[in-house]
Subunit: 337 residues, 2 copies
DNA sequence: GCTTGGCACTCCGGACATTCGAGTGCCAGT
DNA sequence: ACTGGCACTCGAATGTCCGGAGTGCCAAGC
């Protein structure tokens, strides 16, 4: 069947182009892959593929290069995520198992991903929104100043300083601590917010009011949701060519965590592995970069996302495998904690 | 005096080269700067400067370029840190005053520095070593599991999980909390460590022993000292030329926080503004990058360092001014907190 | 004794022409 | 439907040339 072979040709073009970084011609193609036909035949197929928009020529009489559409087809239909080798799995497991706390898990994950894929890795901290309140601690720094410490089920700790209008006795503090904990501990963030609000008539400026307000603020603070860790930026150096057009906007995006979050989160439903290729999505400047991302979290719940960012010309099967594997192991670790 | 003019010539060369990024010739030099002599005279001076190793030619019959030694002389003797404009000062103040906690201060500082200097900025978190223990909090997650929260005078919070061999009643917990706080609160880290160690016979695996050990561990954990924030990496894009030789090693260094710390810390005595130029120091790969750094901290104490990293061909006076100004404002803010 | 104008020399970089080869498209033959 | 052959295209590499910016040096001048 010709149709089938055409796809094989597309696959071969993608694979060759990814590894050689050079436009691939008909002759080289038949030599390096075992498709048992002549270059001329391949040329016909390539012409057809070009008509359909899967590949293109940088200029007349050059080899072919996959288009974004070509990569898309390749990712969707021509590749299955190849499983990691046993050795790689072991490496992932041992590296991540050594982590001591949440920060460490995230940091190790990002390094690991960067190493495995040789791309820039991005890991989002587990979001607050679905986590529950484990405990609220109040520490008196002075009679009229409290440090409010909010401890969440994910291991995250948020701290705020509260200035009270009045001085507070030790007994009152214990009382206060008990009240807020009774209202919040064990609840999902959203519910904790409502019970805290119910606890005190709005606008009341008692110590209880201030503390509750601070807690609500800390819980709904979106800064926390946006925490992101980036690693492997040194891999950008391997971009080599088209520095201005590719690396600069990417570097800028890496500092704009909001943009990064959007990139990771596109089509973020579920913990499905998602791949964004080149121009797909709203960021024109990132036309030559792709994103491979997936959700992760304890118990098959997708609390946050992690993934990699790289040139459209990347090893998709390998990257997808690495991202998926790391996400699984991280999820498992979060499960245990 | 010729000697004086020679230095003026060197200064002019540095200034011109920094702004134009091109080797500077004798004619352009007399035109752009008001030194009232002829090109020929300048040529003689340049020949002398070259003999002494302050400038060099990329190739015969090209203009001159400062050497590292030339930059060094420029920085040491030919420039005074030019004060920031009132508007810049205001901008710094308002941006930093908006910070809500230590994390925020550090993050804002790094962005600010990157913006002001258009270079890569690096800020080290205030070190533990000189800070004091503000409070220790123990939270029972389960009868036999404790979350130990260590709160320091700098606002830093360290948290550790402790597995106790045995279950612990609420009363015992309160008792435990009181014991460790009596030993540690208010003390400088180093002393807190010794009092905690004195609290319990070594090797004893009581709950108190476990908690004390964990605290000591958290206090002496050097991971904490090494925390560093990097910003403005997008400014690397402006390096333009010599990508491989300059940008790649720098990107790698930015991920190696240990290296960064060494870079910031060289000659770190006091809160003096230090400048490392090109080959100075042990890192061969960073031969074409310079570091401008200074210490900062509350009350003229140098708790940590901050600074910028850029090409040797950088605006030293401007960078030095910005680094110094930011360090001062940050220190002031830490004072107030 | 500096400083200066003049002059010959060097060398980089851009413009242009030439060549080479990989690759294509198309057509006729199997 | 595939294949071999052939003419064609175009980019990359190479070579040559020339202009200009810059230097070094020397002899003359202040």
């Amino acid at each position: 069947m010709q149709e089938e072979r055409r796809l094989a040709v597309l696959r071969a073009i993608v694979e060759d182009y990814v590894s050689t970084e050079e436009p691939v011609g008909s002759k080289a193609l038949v030599e390096r892959h075992g498709l048992g036909v002549s270059p001329a035949t391949v040329r016909n197929d390539m012409a057809a593929l070009e008509d359909e928009g899967y590949i293109t020529q940088p200029h007349t009489s050059a080899g072919r290069v996959p288009t974004d559409k070509g990569y898309r087809l390749f990712v969707d239909r021509l590749t299955t995520v190849k499983p990691m080798s046993a050795a790689e799995k072991r490496a992932i497991a041992t590296i991540l198992d050594g982590a001591v706390d949440l920060d460490d898990v995230v940091n190790r994950s990002v390094r690991l991903l960067a190493q495995l894929t040789r791309q820039v890795a991005v890991v989002q901290y587990p979001t607050l929104s679905r986590s529950t309140v484990r405990h609220v601690e109040l520490v008196a720094l002075a009679p009229n100043r409290l440090l409010v410490v909010l401890i969440l089920s994910t291991g995250r700790v948020e701290q705020r300083l509260v200035e009270l209008g009045v001085d507070l006795a030790e007994d009152d503090l214990a009382d206060l601590r008990q009240q807020v904990n009774r209202a919040a501990t064990g609840e999902v963030i959203a519910e904790a917010v409502t019970s805290l609000r119910a606890l005190v008539p709005s606008g009341e400026s008692t110590p209880l009011g201030s503390v509750a307000e601070t807690l609500v603020d800390a819980m709904s603070d979106h800064r926390s949701d946006e925490r992101i860790v980036v690693g492997g930026a040194a891999n950008l150096a391997r971009y080599g060519d088209n520095f201005d057009s590719a690396v600069r906007p990417l570097l800028e995006a890496l500092e704009e965590h909001v943009v990064l979050l959007k990139l990771l989160g596109e089509a973020s439903t579920g913990e499905l592995l998602t791949v964004r290729i080149g121009h797909e999505g709203p960021y024109q400047e990132l036309a030559s970069t792709s994103v491979v991302a997936t959700g992760y979290g304890p118990g098959d719940e997708s609390l946050a996302r992690l993934g990699i960012v790289g040139p459209t010309r990347m090893d998709y099967p390998g990257s997808m495998a690495a991202v998926r594997a790391v996400a699984r192991y991280v999820s498992r670790i979060l499960d245990e904690a």
